[in-house]
């Protein structure tokens, strides 16, 4: 076991982890934050997207122990117009991709407050949704971007 300390959604936390546990499993099973979803567990689906030092990545492809000294933000730590707009415009259907999708969309809007549809689709290429056909998700991200710019 290795002891790590990290900033998790703005709070200092200490965790004791086996080195072969992914950050995703550490978040869900050790930190009790089950908002981050485990889809494919091999970096293809994006359901486990979190921000580490502000950058979106697949938490299934990072070891938990690598988070030592870093700042991690999960869906539980995000309050953003995206959430309301996903509800309002039907961007969330079964909901499984939604946490990862919103974390990714937040990272996208932080970097580019006025993305084109192409830029949004390029940005969320690593987040797989099997319900919406993506159109409603793109619309929700556009609506949130507009709200942010007001």
């Amino acid at each position: 076991m290795k002891k790590i300390s990290l900033t998790l959604n703005g709070e200092k936390r200490e965790l004791e982890l086996e080195p072969w546990r992914s950050l995703l499993d550490a978040l869900r099973n050790e930190a009790g934050l089950t908002g981050t979803k485990k889809g494919c567990d091999v970096g293809d689906c994006g359901a486990c997207t979190v921000l580490v030092d502000g950058k979106p990545l697949n938490s299934c492809l990072m070891l938990g122990v690598e988070a030592d000294g870093h700042e991690v933000v999960t869906i539980e730590g995000i309050e953003h117009p995206l959430q309301e707009q996903f509800i309002r415009l039907g961007g969330a259907q079964c909901g499984f991709c939604t946490p990862g999708m919103i974390v990714m969309a937040k990272a996208l809007l932080d970097e580019n407050p006025n993305p084109s549809e192409d830029e949004i689709r390029f940005g969320i290429a690593g987040n797989i949704c099997r319900c919406t056909g993506y159109t409603k998700i793109v619309e929700a991200i556009q609506a949130a971007a507009e709200e942010m710019r007001k």
């Binding site: 290795k2 970096g43 979106p56 990545l57």
Partner: protein, 283 residues
């Protein structure tokens, strides 16, 4: 994942010593986007994982108009994608990284990891080889340099010994009047492995390199096609002959992404297209 010993060495010497001690049973970890997948799917075994992220000096990305680009072992694909220097001077490499996985993957995946994984279809390899990249290697016996085109020995196989790490890739500065392009052909636009990849780096009436990905056990230069074009005034007829030559030089296999005949045909199509675009860009 199966359990493994985990180390965070502070120096290259310490890392090499660990890799030597565990022989082939130790795996270096940088981005982890290939390694962790392969450990989870039991395609690769590690009794020991050596995280090289705590070694100082491996994270540098720098450019000098004479010396060219230096990419450290921890530089991510995303850093190459968004750097104004690489966008300006290494556009074919930027095209390649834009199509590598997702932004989430590119924020972790390193260029040197993509190189060391040695996948025949790896997107960064054709543009790097076309640009004349050289890798710096550190091991227990000291350091050495190898041109990237001589680095690969087969699918997933390289000249690296078990205690060696690639610490840096150096890519020469582009000559004036040079056009560069990478064209990736896949079944869909994103999250895809290349069915065929073609990179061209062309300097007008001077050197030209054509590198083919995913159509041989390693990335290969289409050397006969290069000879047809090097130092010549290039026209449509010459491009056609070079494209045909590249097609004949490729040695693709059939797999789930495409059959060999289709791949070979696409080498011709994409080489023609890449040469024309590189020529337009160089003018």
């Amino acid at each position: 994942m199966r359990r493994f010993e985990y180390f965070e060495p502070a120096t290259l010497a310490e890392a090499s010593a660990l890799l030597a001690r565990y022989g082939g049973r130790a795996q270096p970890l940088a981005g982890g986007t290939d390694l962790l997948v392969e450990l989870k799917e039991q395609l690769r075994r590690a009794d020991c994982v050596v995280n090289i992220k705590k070694i100082p000096g491996l994270g540098a990305l720098s450019f000098d108009p004479q010396a060219g680009l230096r990419i450290g072992a921890l530089v991510t694909a995303r850093e190459i994608e968004v750097s104004s220097t690489t966008i300006k001077h290494y556009p074919s490499l930027v095209q390649a990284v834009r199509e590598l996985g997702s932004i989430q993957v590119r924020n972790r995946a390193t260029i040197i990891g993509n190189v060391c994984r040695a996948s025949p279809s790896a997107d960064t390899l054709p543009p790097l080889i076309a640009d004349g990249a050289v890798v710096s290697i550190h091991g227990g016996q000291g350091t050495r340099s190898v041109p990237l085109e001589d680095f690969f020995t087969g699918p997933g196989k390289t000249v690296l010994k078990s205690d060696e790490l690639v610490t840096e890739i150096a890519v020469p500065a582009p000559a004036p009047r040079t056009g560069k392009i990478y064209i990736k052909h896949g079944r869909r636009k994103a999250m895809e492995l290349a069915t065929v990849g073609v990179a061209v780096t062309l300097t007008l009436e001077d050197e030209i390199r054509i590198v083919l990905g995913a159509v041989a056990p390693t990335p290969i230069r289409a050397k006969k096609a290069e000879v047809l074009l090097s130092g010549r005034k290039i026209d449509a007829a010459l491009i056609e002959r070079a494209a045909q030559s590249a097609l004949e030089e490729s040695r693709p296999i059939s797999n789930v992404r495409a059959n060999a005949a289709y791949r070979r045909e696409m080498v011709g199509v994409l080489t023609r297209r890449a040469l024309q675009r590189a020529l337009d860009l160089a003018r």
